[in-house]
């Protein structure tokens, strides 16, 4: 039998050493079955799945990127020459990777494009052209799923909407992703991540309350794009499970605003029953106390040239909400009176109690550095973690041994640091192969090698500007 590092349940021995995996400690066992260095020796979960990604920005491309990480063949269709606007997007216009391409030769593609487009194949197609429709039908005929993000009805007008495509391929799983959805009074409104945060509810409960002088804070990343894209992918995979039984595809109308609303926890039941409108509560928690972020007096490296390290890296997350933990914490900071006063779980979650307790904690931490605070609390057997910056993540052994961050040896761009192996699967781990490719770089690979269009026809289409 071929020895495999794929730990199928009947094989309870290490194929290399013959060691009995039932007898080793649990952590050792996890290290073995999730070993990131064995990723490329294991199969891919979605091998053979083909997905067409007619997408822009982050929300809809991320569906394809995650499918591609799990092994699907994902074809990203962009408008000729224009490309995805995310290619122009870069933090403060600073970070770009330079490809050999005629598309924006002076700047290359911005970092905003990163990560929502891994492992994809890039083709171009001008949907407006007459030839495009037939070509797109041919592509859909051999695909399992597709995602698009144009305004409602646009694809229908171009002859490639769901009502038409389901005739071409009844097994197709078609997902539309956007802000307001395909029906309803405001259906034509454009949307972005930040719009989902703003009017979906996350903004209303994130940031500091007015009484503390604060404003609603934007989640730093495009969370409602990324997370809503993942929610859509749940719909696709579930539909594929159903399709196996019936052979029928589906249409999913995913509103990212609705995803933001779904993530607001108890806010709506509370409002509906008691009329209480949930507000922002800064860095503390509305359900548990102590369970929040405090500021330490100093950073670990006040001399560092980067203010993000010398000034900002001074916050600690402290968690001691159970009775014994809270008692220990109060004695640690020399405030046993707080324990006397708030020895009941419910009492210390009250707003006034939280204000008093966190103030006392910050007072205690005011002459200590971040690592001193974390150490003192951890040494007392309680839970505290530093609020980590990108540098702290990079320096943490933990994420390297787990393969979470990795230098990807990209065929075009060389070494790119990327967050990589988000969920661990013992048999079919997701993986990053390349970060992205220039616009239209796989036209021949897909149209000629996969779909069998002749090179002369492709030349003709290219001359007409269709691809």
């Amino acid at each position: 039998m071929v020895e495999s590092w794929s730990f199928n349940p009947p094989f309870d021995r290490n194929p290399e050493t013959g060691e009995d995996l039932d007898k080793i400690p649990f952590e050792e066992y996890c290290r073995k079955v999730f070993d990131p260095s064995k990723t490329f020796e294991k199969p891919e979960a979605l091998k053979g799945w083909r997905h067409v990604s007619s997408t822009m920005y982050i929300l809809s491309p991320h569906v394809g990127a995650t499918l591609a990480e799990y092994g699907a063949e994902v074809i990203k269709v962009e408008m000729p020459r224009l490309g995805d606007p995310m290619r122009h997007t870069s933090p403060f216009n600073e970070a770009y990777l330079w490809p050999e391409t005629d598309h924006r030769p002076l700047t290359g593609t911005g970092f905003g494009f990163l990560h929502a487009n891994v492992n994809k194949y890039f083709v171009t197609l001008d949907y407006h052209a007459d030839e495009a429709k037939e070509l797109y039908y041919d592509l859909i005929r051999i695909s399992d799923s597709m995602a698009e993000c144009y305004r409602p009805g646009t694809f229908f007008r171009w002859g490639i909407g769901y009502p038409q495509l389901k005739e071409v391929n009844p097994r197709l799983i078609y997902i539309w992703l956007g802000g307001f959805g395909n029906y309803g009074p405001r259906r034509y409104g454009g949307s972005y991540d930040i719009l989902g945060q703003a009017c979906g509810g996350l903004a209303a409960i994130t940031g500091w309350h007015e009484d503390f002088g604060g404003h609603p804070a934007k989640h730093t990343n495009w969370i409602i794009d990324w997370y809503a894209g993942l929610t859509g992918l749940i719909g696709i995979l579930a539909a594929a499970h159903y399709r196996k039984k019936t052979g029928e595809g589906t249409f999913i109308d995913l509103s990212q605003i609705s995803c933001s609303t779904r993530a607001t926890g108890y806010s709506f039941p509370l409002y509906g029953r008691f009329g209480v409108v949930r507000q922002r509560w800064g860095n503390w928690d509305t359900l548990l106390s102590v369970h929040g972020i405090i500021m330490a007096g100093k950073t670990d490296d006040p001399e560092h040239p980067n203010p993000q390290i010398s000034v900002e890296s001074r916050y600690v997350m402290v968690s001691a909400f159970q009775d014994e933990d809270f008692k220990e914490l109060c004695y640690l900071i020399g405030r046993p009176d707080l324990w006397e006063k708030y020895s009941s779980f419910k009492e210390r979650v009250k707003p006034e109690a939280q204000i008093e307790i966190y103030r006392a904690l910050e007072e205690w931490a005011s002459d200590k550095s971040r690592s001193e605070v974390v150490e003192a609390i951890n040494n007392a057997g309680l839970i505290a973690v530093p609020v980590m910056s990108a540098k702290d993540i990079y320096d943490a052994e933990h994420f390297w041994e787990r393969g979470t961050i990795r230098w990807v040896d990209d065929p075009l761009f060389g070494e790119v640091l990327t967050q990589n192996w988000h969920v661990k699967l013992s048999e079919t781990p997701p993986r990053t192969k390349w970060v992205w490719r220039p616009i239209g770089s796989d036209n021949i690979r897909i149209y000629h090698e996969l779909m069998g269009y002749s090179m002369s026809k492709l030349k003709e289409l290219w001359e007409k500007g269709v691809i």
């Binding site: 933090p91 309803g184 539909a239 009329g275």
Partner: protein, 502 residues
């Protein structure tokens, strides 16, 4: 003012306590399909109204009832307590039709008693027993059956093994190695049931130098530990030069347990991918591990990559976005208005709207050569200049006025809405982003709907909300283990299960 059962009711607001009264929902009724239908027909974007009609007939929320379930027939054992990640994964699977059994210790999931600010008056009461439960619990544990099973007893574990032998998916989030020590971890269960997909949820991991741990008194690690260790908190919030540190100029966590939400969603995808692989290729399950820190890091843009690129560490930028111009919310007359438009086409449209009221300001940025190129506008000076002018315009506009003016030029704009405003926003009411659920045990409950509710074949739906502790003991034990009421009573006396209404 509002309507209920056709009668108009009025609420006098004399003092603060009146504002806390629940209102009928929705206070203002959204336009009906018929009222909206004529715009469909006349709309130049859909001249014959065919697409609109197709969607209304096949996709809309009203048509969901009676459609089949995508994950019909899957058996999921959800053993998660405290944290929200596994709970989320379980409720997504349950909304899509899987049979999800929530297995709780005898005194229940502690989440049942986590009330906002510890105020027990915000509890929901079981109509039959008066048992109290938190709004968090009923909202997040939707569509699940609830049974009690004491996994700390030998007998409880034996029963759990019998359930796992029939299950497709197990979800758990106990501290690393707990289930393994109890003899019901993946190592042991996979021998009983090789097709089992076993997912563990946590903050940092089951292995590695910084793995999940408990305090010396056994307290678990919960969100936001994960997002603090993912770079997210460090770069969220306002910079100290916009707001003083004590007043919001700090790194800021998300208001919800958002790391758990993302780990739950990522974990669900892994489970469904493993299911696809099992059904189509291997006929075997696998071991899955989803942590809040890694799953959140995955979606944290390019932040880690940027550090690798040139050592940059993303700073906080409050309501602005450092990557796009315009793309921010700024204060306006009565709150905050978000405006977004990055491409030249949209960017200049925003200026056209501003120019109507503030021609000098709009000219100042429209004619700046530095701001003419799309990518160049993202530089910090570009952001400051653009948003200064925009905020000046916003100061004279309310959220509704600003939104209307921007949307009329097809610019994406929306107000920062409070929870009650979301509940009333016509579009969301029409689509039921939030909805009333008539629950057998709690009566009328307001809840946010599943984002996957709008589908042609297999829409996700809420059937019921988090159930009273052990409600389904009788049903589940009889159905899967052949244990009838007499034996169940015996088990209850031995402390293995607990009766509902005991």
């Amino acid at each position: 003012m509002g309507e209920e059962n056709g009668k108009t009711i009025e609420i006098d607001i004399d003092d603060v306590s009146d504002t806390l009264l629940p209102r009928p929902w929705p206070v203002s009724k959204p336009r009906t399909r018929e009222e909206l239908y004529s715009p469909w027909v006349k709309d130049p974007r859909d001249p014959e109204g065919k697409y609109g009609e197709f969607i209304e007939e096949n996709i809309s929320w009203e048509k969901a009832e009676g459609k089949p379930w995508a994950l019909d027939g899957l058996l999921v054992l959800d053993c998660t307590i405290w944290g929200m990640a596994g709970a989320f994964a379980g409720s997504y699977l349950a909304e899509l039709g899987a049979t999800v059994i929530k297995i709780e210790p005898l005194d229940g999931d502690p989440q049942r008693h986590l009330y906002p600010f510890g105020r027990e008056e915000y509890a929901f009461e079981d109509i039959y027993t008066g048992e109290k439960v938190s709004p968090t619990f009923i909202h997040e544990q939707r569509n699940k059956y609830s049974i009690t099973l004491n996994l700390e007893t030998e007998e409880g574990r034996e029963l759990f093994k019998k359930l796992a032998a029939q299950a497709d998916i197990v979800l758990e989030n106990y501290p690393p190695g707990t289930f393994d020590e109890w003899g019901i971890g993946y190592r042991q269960l996979s021998k009983i049931n090789p097709r089992l997909i076993y997912a563990w949820f946590g903050q940092l991991g089951q292995w590695g130098s910084m793995k999940d741990r408990t305090s010396k008194y056994g307290q678990w690690m919960l969100d936001p530990v994960g997002i603090c260790c993912s770079e997210f908190v460090h770069s969220t919030g306002f910079p100290a030069d916009l707001l003083p540190r004590e007043q919001g100029g700090n790194p800021t966590r998300s208001g919800e347990w958002v790391g758990d939400v993302v780990a739950g969603v990522h974990g669900t995808i892994a489970i469904l991918a493993a299911l696809y692989y099992r059904e189509n290729v291997s006929n075997r399950g696998q071991f899955i591990e989803a942590t809040a820190s890694e799953c959140y890091m995955d979606i944290c843009d390019f932040n880690v990559a940027w550090y690798g690129f040139d050592g940059s560490i993303k700073a906080r930028t409050g309501g602005w976005d450092p990557n796009l111009n315009q793309y921010a919310w700024n204060p306006c007359k009565d709150g905050y208005l978000m405006i977004g438009g990055q491409t030249d086409r949209l960017w200049y449209r925003i200026l056209q709207v501003i120019a109507q009221e503030d021609p000098e300001g709009a000219r100042l940025i429209a004619e700046d050569p530095f701001l003419k190129e799309m990518a160049a506008r993202n530089a910090l000076e570009g952001l400051i200049k653009t948003y200064t002018i925009t905020a000046q315009w916003l100061a004279h506009n309310t959220r509704a006025e600003g939104e209307r003016k921007m949307v009329s030029r097809e610019v994406a704009a929306a107000p920062v809405l409070f929870i009650d405003e979301i509940a009333e926003y016509e579009h969301f009411v029409y689509r039921r982003h939030v909805t009333e659920v008539y629950d057998e045990h709690y009566g009328k409950v307001f809840a946010s709907n599943s984002p996957l509710a709008h589908q042609h074949r297999t829409p996700a739906r809420i059937k019921w909300l988090g159930r009273p502790l052990g409600l389904d003991n009788g049903e589940i034990f009889a159905r899967y283990l052949g244990i009838g009421p007499m034996e169940l009573k015996k088990l209850a006396l031995e402390g293995v299960v607990k009766w509902y209404r005991e």
